[in-house]
Symmetry: C2
Subunit: 133 residues, 2 copies
């Protein structure tokens, strides 16, 4: 079983790979037979290839998405949970939403399941302030 | 199924009841056949009576525990997840730990399952600053 430090490091690699738009790096953190439910009220994506395809679609439709932890990773047993904020900018509008991701890990340290708690109803839109020179 | 606002309100009642040390109010938020796993690497408590007994023990051993949300509730489908911080003071020492609680709700709005992600290894101890008059 991975240690708490190893699970925490993988979660940080996960958010960094998202912010870099590196879908191969994201997919590489998941087990071949991993299960992804993102958000949790939507159908599951089954297997690493499906995980990669899902996030490739996400990053094609949301250019320059950043995913940042807003608090420490809670790692215990074979699980890690973390509060996150996703942010993207389209034109002069900033879109943000708060997320909690819960990861389950296998003995080899790969992610076997990830469940993402967030709702599209909670996406906030704000205008980039003008007049900043 | 409860609405997102209803699930969010129940989570806030849950944290307030903990901070008040009101174990009857806590237990009343759970379904009769609820499952509690707190933290997630420990055996489950099955049923409202077991939930009440578990939290009664918690509040007997940790006097004056406060449980405070450190970010918004993420409510979606039949679930709600929230980042929390538990704090207690024993003598001149403050103990704190970061937690993520994930709740599942039944059609009647009662909690059917709660899973708490935190580790006793992450409890931080600090001294109350002296010289504050």
């Amino acid at each position: 079983m991975p240690t708490s430090d190893e699970m925490t490091a993988t979660v940080h690699r996960y958010t960094a790979a998202h912010s870099a738009g590196d879908v191969d790096a994201i997919a590489g953190l998941f087990a071949v037979d991993a299960v992804l439910v993102d958000p949790v009220d939507q159908p599951a994506h089954l297997g690493r290839d499906a995980v990669r395809a899902f996030f490739a679609g996400t990053h094609e439709s949301i250019d320059g998405m950043e995913l940042v932890a807003t608090g420490p990773v809670r790692a215990v047993g074979e699980w890690a949970a973390v509060p996150l904020r996703a942010r993207s900018t389209i034109g002069d509008t900033i879109y943000e939403v708060d997320i909690i991701d819960v990861f389950t890990f296998g003995d080899d340290g790969l992610i076997t399941e990830m469940r993402a708690y967030w709702s599209s109803a909670d996406i906030r839109a704000s205008q980039i302030p003008t007049g900043r020179h």
